[in-house]
């Protein structure tokens, strides 16, 4: 036993050790703790789960979270695809400029960008001022609406989508499109029959990344959104900060985790596409 451990410690496995230890202490133990609390606080049993699923408000929040994540994923895909496409296909100075802009926003913290949107969309912000100048009086409420939080989340997550799409698109050989044209395909047909399917792995990867990140959003919907369309992370926060109901909050966290893992399993079952095409 002693000799096998020392052999392991000299082998490449030892390189995993720091990361494994770190994850154990700072990820697995707290996670296990949350799971434990969801079944033991305040009483042992599945009471917290029964309470969650029998509250139409809580289930509504969960569904709204998934709905919001789906909308954000779709809108960021729609906005990100052309940007990634131009950067990957035409490259050059303009392509690099696009990528620098995207990366800059990628490096800026979520919180800073969220506050920036508060200023821009606020009552005294430039958008409202512009609407008033155009004669829209009284100006519509923009901040603290579903639109504001969805819009901001789309902006926050778009760099993930763009960079993921770009990574896949850059590997799509430009001669495929020439070949398609030479074989008689008009540009739109060549795009839908060749480029779009070849970029599918990027769409799938980017969508999963954005969707799952969005599920856990806390700050943005709380700061920008309407109080009516709460997301689950905000609900968990309320439960802890205002109710001090650690057990209930833990149960909600576990529900979110299991739902996310389930979704991820579905994704890898149906969208293992990138392996198929090299």
């Amino acid at each position: 036993m002693g000799s096998s451990v020392s052999r392991l410690l000299r082998g490449p496995a030892v390189l995993y050790l720091p990361a494994a230890l770190f994850l154990l202490v700072f990820f697995l133990v707290p996670l296990f703790n949350v799971a434990w609390m969801s079944f033991t606080e305040p009483d042992t049993g599945v009471g917290n789960y029964i309470a969650f699923f029998s509250s139409s408000f809580d289930v509504g929040v969960l569904l709204n979270t998934f709905k919001t994540a789906a909308i954000v994923t779709l809108t960021s895909l729609i906005f990100a695809y052309p940007v990634a496409y131009v950067a990957a296909r035409y490259g050059g100075a303009f392509g690099s400029f696009l990528l620098i802009v995207v990366t800059l926003s990628f490096w800026t913290s979520f919180l800073v960008r969220t506050y920036a949107w508060m200023v821009i969309l606020g009552v005294k912000g430039p958008i409202t001022a512009a609407l008033v100048m155009l004669g829209w009086s009284p100006p519509p409420q923009i901040l603290f609406t579903t639109f504001a939080s969805t819009f901001a989340m789309t902006h926050l997550l778009m760099p993930f989508m763009i960079l993921t799409l770009y990574a896949v698109m850059r590997r799509i050989d430009a001669t495929y499109m020439r070949a398609a044209a030479g074989l008689g395909a008009k540009p739109l047909k060549a795009f839908t029959s060749i480029y779009l399917p070849l970029s599918l792995p990027g769409i799938a990867n980017g969508s999963v990344l954005v969707f799952i990140t969005c599920l856990g959003f806390y700050v943005t919907p709380v700061l920008l959104g309407s109080p009516r369309d709460k997301m689950i992370a905000g609900r968990i926060g309320d439960e802890i900060e205002q109710m001090l109901n650690f057990g209930g909050a833990s149960a909600m966290a576990m529900v979110l985790l299991v739902a996310t893992l389930g979704l991820f399993a579905l994704y890898s079952r149906f969208f293992g596409l990138d392996k198929l095409w090299k």
Partner: protein, 354 residues
């Protein structure tokens, strides 16, 4: 498949408005011909091909396909088959999907499509590979799929951009024979871009030798090889000895150090400079005393390169660098440092540009 004719008139392509990548090219290709564009990289041959295919816009000049000007026609309406250097097979489609693609684009009926695809696959010998993906094929097989895809819609003109460049030597020779067979069977017009002179020699009806954006020589392989128009053509196509001298009387050219060389030329002005092409294989090596050489020239061998089927003797004769190629014989025994008599038939000496 109705073969198509192609006429290029004063064709120019410039990327920077100062130098011409393609520099005033005139070329007429008859229907059903197999023409090679031969030249070093950067000579304009691929650019010319891309303009014919429609992927590059000419700066000036005219491209006529079957007598109709096509410069303004987008590539998807030109109906020209093209085989790319890297094959450009669509990785998410099977072999059948790839070959059927141009037919699907043309909304062909399902059963007609199946027949056509079957026929094209049979033609390139891949009938049993229809359900595979490109990644599951060898380089040679991918090349055949690309060819099948280029001819399945019966385009009448097929462009091939160094299609065999990535294949190993044996496979390349095999594919050359296959391509020629397909060309004969279909009677289609083919334009074949290559920098490999052997390929161009063995396959073409005519060769257009490109250099610096111009066609320096357009002719049959025999003409290009034995009667090259310019020094470049003489040195690029085949192995060559180029000797500079001064014309004398009766087609004789005086080469300094080497002596007078008789040629078949009749129109040399006495006293004018002349460039002689003597292919390494026109020489015969003779033992001293055995009839001796016509001119008394001797080759002082500095190096012997063994090609298996032939030997290349590199050395000097009369102060001129000379390469002499002789058939391999076990008993020949040529060595570096040796001195051998050489002779040749004057009928095989060419005056370049004459």
């Amino acid at each position: 498949m109705q073969p198509r004719s192609l006429i290029l008139t004063d064709l120019v392509k410039s990327y920077d408005r100062r130098t011409n990548a393609v520099d005033h090219i005139d070329l007429r290709i008859e229907a059903g011909e197999f023409v090679s564009f031969l030249g070093p990289s950067g000579s304009g041959k691929t650019t010319t091909l891309m303009m014919i295919a429609g992927f590059e816009q000419p700066t000036a000049g005219e491209i006529k396909l079957d007598g109709r000007a096509i410069e303004q026609v987008p590539p998807y309406d030109r109906n020209i088959g093209m085989v790319f250097q890297n094959y450009a097979l669509f990785p998410h489609m099977t072999v059948r999907g790839n070959v059927g693609y141009p037919l699907r684009i043309r909304h062909m009926a399902k059963d007609v499509m199946r027949q056509r695809v079957d026929k094209a696959l049979a033609m390139v010998g891949l009938s049993t590979f229809g359900e595979r993906y490109p990644a599951e094929l060898s380089g040679g097989q991918q090349q055949r799929v690309a060819l099948a895809r280029a001819l399945v819609f019966e385009p009448g003109l097929i462009l091939l951009d160094e299609p065999l460049g990535a294949l190993d030597k044996n496979l390349r020779e095999h594919m050359q024979v296959e391509l020629k067979r397909i060309h004969k069977e279909l009677g289609v017009t083919m334009i074949y871009v290559t920098h490999d002179q052997t390929e161009a020699m063995t396959m073409s009806d005519r060769i257009a030798v490109f250099n610096a954006g111009r066609i320096e020589h357009l002719g049959t392989p025999t003409e290009v090889y034995f009667k090259p128009r310019t020094r470049f053509v003489a040195s690029f196509v085949g192995d060559s000895n180029l000797l500079e001298g001064t014309a004398g009387k009766g087609g004789v050219v005086e080469i300094p150090g080497f002596g007078p060389v008789a040629t078949a030329a009749t129109d040399l002005a006495p006293g004018a400079p002349a460039l002689l092409l003597m292919r390494p294989e026109i020489f015969e090596v003779v033992a001293d005393g055995e009839g001796a050489s016509v001119t008394g020239n001797h080759l002082e061998v500095a190096d012997v390169v063994n090609y298996g089927d032939s030997l290349l003797l590199i050395g000097k004769a009369g102060g001129q660098a000379l390469r002499v190629r002789v058939p391999s014989r076990v008993a020949a025994g040529y060595e570096a440092g040796g001195r051998y008599g050489i002779r040749w038939n004057p009928a095989n000496v060419q005056v370049v540009g004459g």
